[in-house]
Every structure is written in structure tokens, then in C-alpha cells.
Symmetry: C2
Subunit: 223 residues, 2 copies
DNA sequence: CGAAAAATGTCACTCAGTGCCACTTGACAC
DNA sequence: GTGTCAAGTGGCACTGAGTGACATTTTTCG
């Protein structure tokens, strides 16, 4: 909204389904750019690879790279961003369960994914942590994750209010919902850091469960 | 450490005191760059001002700008970074009080400063929120703040361990200390967002106190 | 005073990111 | 099919951030 959104490729629909030949090809190019970029970055380091290099390896022009990604950093965030979308999908809709419970499950399921793809996750993480710009972008995604989680808390507490309003747009999320979401994301991030620093040798899921136990204490403290 | 630290002006000593002629002048130039930059950015918007413009207004060369600030964004973060240093100073040393209590006081004192300088804080905040790069840098500072707070928690719980080690370097902070710090920073940030979104019309200190009440609940949940 | 160190200005260079325009190729109506 | 339209692309030129090298001035310190 306010973030002077670059004139960018309009947030891919992300719909795997059928899609026309055109969308299919676009997706292939995009994927080629991601894999080329990650491969080169891991090999030579983010700052010693130019966008030209990436484009050439993917078999497209430099100009096309920027039609798919607003910045050189964004191509590294692609995977995380897709994860974010599936994460958001997990939280869609509102069964009766408490929001924290649902968020907990979604996070722990993500933790399982991470442990299953340990090597890849650790390698990409090392790449990100080795560069200031990338760290900054990574936190940008954390903020988006936080917004998704705020949505989950707000949806839960706002069902009544929304109903009374006639099903219109949701009310602004309460400060408590935002507090909870910020705490969740912070704790999840730290847990992940800890796991990665230990070379992925600790039990990520177990740590995550401990973290959410703590968070349950936080929620109990809500008035 | 790992963040491929740019070859930058070596973290100003920040010592106000006497300082030689040389340091004095350097500080004056730096301040001139900051005020010029903020003035131009607020007037025309961050992306419609070049580093050349800023340097010219401050009466130095473009090259000198980059001897003081690693990036165009960093000059905007200067004020926050100084605040961070005074904040860290507040947490220096270890009286017997619980860490959360001391962090709470430091944060609430910061809240008072913000309310006292409402206009300036809100204006700079609007500047930052209006630009993606600046938001990312801002979160970078949040992370540094988090590290400082981790230090406070770790120092408190690590006194014994450090003593046994013979006063050597502190042990790595516990995951609980890191969780707490992440939760604190997240909640502080959201509280500030909320205050700013309301145009600074709400009571920041009161909100902050509520936030820390919540955090006390979190700490109780620690094993 | 004289030498080392710090700060600056100038110049040249790399590379990220953008606007513009011409060209190709799927998508879709008829 | 055929024509029309829009999307995706490549090429090119341009702005501006950031860096390295070198010469010059100015402070510090023995």
C-alpha cells in the first residue's frame, strides 16, 4: 500500500492447476531464474554474481529477469514466499478452534518440512545470513508472515463483529492480535536461528513445541 | 561478523566528550549530512533525492557521504541507531533486578521520549514507512535492539556461569533469553506501529505498560 | 619541526534498476 | 483458419548507488 510498490510482475497467481501455454512458459522461465540464481549465489556468493550472469544461465535477457523479480534479492526470497502462501492457505477459513492452536499446527508442520529438507534449508539460510541486503529482505517476509498470523487471530476474535456489520470487510485487528502475532513470529524466527546455528542437529519440532508452550502462557495473560 | 560487513567508517565512537579537532569536525560533517538528508527526503521523498543532492546541501563531495554512511538508507537510520546506543547504555551493568524489569523501564523511558517529540518521530516514521528499502533497514535496527536485549537477559542468567568460567567471555545466550528478547522487540514494535497509525493521539506509555504486562505472563511460563 | 595518519575531492568504473520501442507468439472472437 | 489483441521478450540507452585508486590537505604526535 504505502510502500511505493514497484511496478512489478503483479504477484504471480501461484495457481499450479492447468494454466494456458503462456502462463506455463512464464512459470518455467521464473523457475529457471530461481534455480540459476541460487546455484550461482551458492557457488560464488551473492555479491560476486551479476544479474547478467543469472539471466544468461537461465537463457533469458537481463531485462526479463527484472520483469519477474523487482530486485536481485527477491529471487532468493522466492522459495520462502511460496512457503508463505501455502502457510497462509493452511490458516484460511475459520473452523471453531482457537487461533493459537491453528497457528501452532501450521508452524510445526513447517518445522517438519524444514527437517525433511535440512540440507537445502541450511544452505539457503547460510546464503541469506551472509549478506546484509538478503537479511533485510528476509525480515520483510517475516513481516508478511506476521500479517498472515494477525489475520488468523483477528478472524477468530472478529467473527461476531463482522457478522453484525453484515459480513463486510473485517474490522481492524485488535492490538492484542497484533501483539500475539509479533511474539509468534519472533519466537519462531529465533527457534529457527537456533536450529540452524546448531547445524540442524537439534530437534526443530521439539524446540518449536517448547516455544509454543511459552506462547500459550502469553495468551493466558491476555485480559 | 558473517554479514560481509562493508568497509565502512568504523562505527563512530559516539563519545560526546571532548574529542580532538579532527573527531569534532567529522561529527559536524556527519550531522550536516543527516539533517540535509532528512530535510530533502521529507520534502521530496526518499527516492526523488540523490546522494549528490544530499552531499551538495551538506557542502561535501558525494564520495565523502559514503565515507560516513555505507548506503543511502543508513543516513536515515542514524537517529534510531543513536537511540539504540543510549538504550544499550541503560542496560549496561547488572544490578540485582530482574532483566525484564530493567528492559521494561528502558523501553518505557523511550516511550516517553517519543511522546515528547511526537511530531519529529511521526514525520521520520512516515518517511521510513513510505519506502521498502527503508522499512527493511529499520527492521535491521530492530534486530540489533533484540541483540542488546538478549544481552540483558543473558547477563542476568549467566552471572554464575561466567563466574565459574573465571570472568571470561559470556556463554552463548540461552534459547529462553533469545525468545524473550524477540517477543519484547516484536511487541514494542507493534505498540509503536499502533501509536503511529493513530497519529500519536493514544497514550504510548499506557499501551507499553499493557504490553509488558503481557510479557510478564510470558516470563512466568518459562520453566 | 617532521613524519605518520586521517579526511577529503576527483575521476573512472561496475552494476542494479527503469523507460522505450520493436518484435514475436499465445489467446480468443468471428 | 484468419485477424486482432495483449502478454512476454530482447535490445538499447540512461540514471544513480556504491567502490577503488590517487593526489592533496590537515591534524596529531613524537
Amino acid at each position: 500500500m504505502s510502500t511505493a510498490a514497484r511496478a512489478v510482475p503483479s504477484e504471480e497467481p501461484l495457481a499450479e492447476e492447468h494454466a494456458g501455454l503462456r502462463a506455463q512458459h512464464r512459470r518455467r522461465v521464473r523457475d529457471a531464474l530461481v534455480t540459476s540464481a541460487l546455484s550461482l549465489f551458492k557457488e560464488r556468493g551473492f555479491e560476486h554474481v551479476t544479474v547478467d550472469d543469472v539471466a544468461k544461465m537461465a537463457g533469458v535477457s537481463r531485462r526479463t529477469f527484472f520483469r519477474h523479480f523487482a530486485t536481485k534479492e527477491d529471487v532468493v526470497m522466492e522459495r520462502r514466499r511460496r512457503q508463505l502462501h501455502t502457510f497462509a492457505a493452511l490458516l484460511e477459513g475459520d473452523d471453531g478452534r482457537p487461533a493459537l492452536e491453528r497457528v501452532r499446527e501450521a508452524c510445526l508442520s513447517l518445522a517438519d518440512d524444514f527437517e525433511a529438507q535440512r540440507e537445502r534449508v541450511l544452505a539457503e539460510r547460510a546464503l541469506v545470513m551472509g549478506n546484509r541486503e538478503l537479511v533485510a529482505r528476509d525480515m520483510e517476509v517475516d513481516r508478511e508472515l506476521e500479517q498472515v498470523i494477525v489475520g488468523a487471530f483477528a478472524a477468530h476474535e472478529g467473527r461476531r463483529a463482522a457478522a453484525r456489520r453484515g459480513g463486510g470487510r473485517a474490522a481492524a485487528p485488535s492490538i492484542e492480535a497484533r501483539w500475539m502475532a509479533a511474539a509468534v513470529v519472533g519466537i519462531v524466527r529465533v527457534t529457527l536461528d537456533d536450529w540452524a546455528e546448531g547445524g540442524g542437529r537439534t530437534k526443530l519440532r521439539a524446540m518449536g513445541e517448547r516455544g509454543f508452550t511459552l506462547l500459550a502462557g502469553l495468551e493466558r495473560a491476555r485480559t
